[in-house]
Symmetry: C2
């Protein structure tokens, strides 16, 4: 296999799944107002926090997903923390930047160069509204990968995804692009929607946000979106439910327990 | 008037229009591969470039619009250049960050805090796909302002904006939100589309990209989207057509001439 392919999210995800039997994606959303007090006096609190979270949860993670907003909120120091974080995560665990960008032409090329090349992420999340043009810089890179927003579960997802049927339209449109390059962000909502999304997008990796540590929706998600036993093609994301379990100096151990518990619950279905 | 309102883009735009009679928005998209050689050896090439462009074009600018992608592409140094740029632009000229973000809950709050508070932009561009939830942090701030992507003019704008009628749907949906907080990004395309967009969104500020220094579409844009003589409610954006006219050490003078020419062409209609 080509070296560039070995570096792609598609390959890394499958390899990590086979090695770890984990489908857990840990969202690194280091909200400054929620960080444990013990890291606040560090030179770079977000980096210190992430480093300890990664040390504690690495063995349960199929992937990590930092969200750009939380890093930019801390300015230059935040961008430094983001770079240190992606550098620190072991090469065999895919790292997805949640940035939901969606632009065209040279602008999109700049985002893709910045995130996949300069910062060395394995994949980004993108917003599809501007159409095919925005995927070009991803498709042109041999190791390019993007998760396209297809359905979200926030209250106003109704405005366009549901009421205007955009979720179905985006899902169908994605059939123009290879699953080796393009995955889908699919919010955990109604069972009928989950079923429909998988029927419209077989073989594509689903990044599924909104599963808390308690995992109330996990049952439906696993039943209706698991693709095959060999390759489930899902990543179950949990952010606050794992990283903000505890704000004491033992926050990392608490995150480890939460990650372990959720991953064990996921494993029942695989 | 409240101090916070005086700081808002809505007020600044109207005030700048009255003072300068300019409707020109200058896009600061400092593509590293396009920068003049004479700035490349500076400690921070993008900042050096922007500083000289702003010095030369300030008197013709109704607003500036840096695009986040080009700054992130230069890493930490790029983010520093972005902050220096927004700090340097005179307080009375509005600065719009073109970032096309669109997220929800605490994530969107983080973006809005980062861009409007920490970095002190007057407005951001946003992608509306996730619905009303994403505008909340903008609406909640007294000085909050966002330009919502409503129609773009790239080839694949057809995929969703046109074929799926999303441009019209977004324009109608925007009627739920006050023009003092929410503007619209409207790509310069067909005359019928420009007319329809203004009919659906009277009183709202249009940010209109895609007008080159040659300004082929300017006539249609000015005829069909100008709102009233008192307040035209448009910003005509030009990026490369102004800032990359010349790559010699005289690049700033060339940008000044291009800005002057385009603004003079715009003024004919006002």
């Amino acid at each position: 296999m080509e070296k560039t392919l070995l570096k792609s999210l598609w390959y890394k995800y499958r390899s990590r799944w086979q090695d770890s039997h984990s489908l857990l994606c840990i969202g690194l959303d280091p909200d400054l107002t929620q960080l444990p007090e013990c890291v606040l006096n560090e030179k770079n609190p977000i980096w210190e926090f992430n480093r300890r979270i990664i040390d504690a949860t690495g063995k349960y993670a199929c992937a990590y997903k930092p969200n750009l907003a939380f890093y930019l909120r801390d300015g230059i120091r935040g961008l430094e923390a983001l770079q240190l974080t992606v550098n620190y995560i072991p090469e065999y665990i895919p790292v997805i930047l949640d940035c939901k960008v969606g632009d065209i032409g040279t602008t999109m090329e700049q985002y893709v160069s910045a995130f996949l090349e300069l910062m060395d992420f394995d994949a980004i999340t993108v917003n599809p509204l501007l159409g095919t043009d925005l995927l070009k810089p991803i498709l042109e890179r041999e190791d390019g990968f993007a998760f396209v927003l297809t359905l979200t579960s926030n209250p106003s997802a109704n405005d366009f995804f549901i009421k205007e049927n955009m979720a179905v339209k985006i899902a169908k449109w994605l059939n123009n692009f290879p699953p080796e390059k393009i995955g889908a962000v699919v919010g955990a909502t109604l069972v009928t929607q989950l079923k429909e999304m998988r029927e419209l997008m077989p073989g594509r990796i689903f990044l599924i946000p909104g599963i808390g540590a308690q995992g109330g929706d996990l049952d439906a998600v696993m039943h209706y979106t698991k693709d095959s036993d060999e390759f489930p093609n899902i990543l179950i994301n949990s952010s606050r439910g794992i990283i903000f379990q505890d704000r004491s100096p033992k926050f990392a151990q608490a995150a480890e327990i939460a990650a372990k518990n959720l991953q064990e619950r996921i494993e029942i279905y695989t």
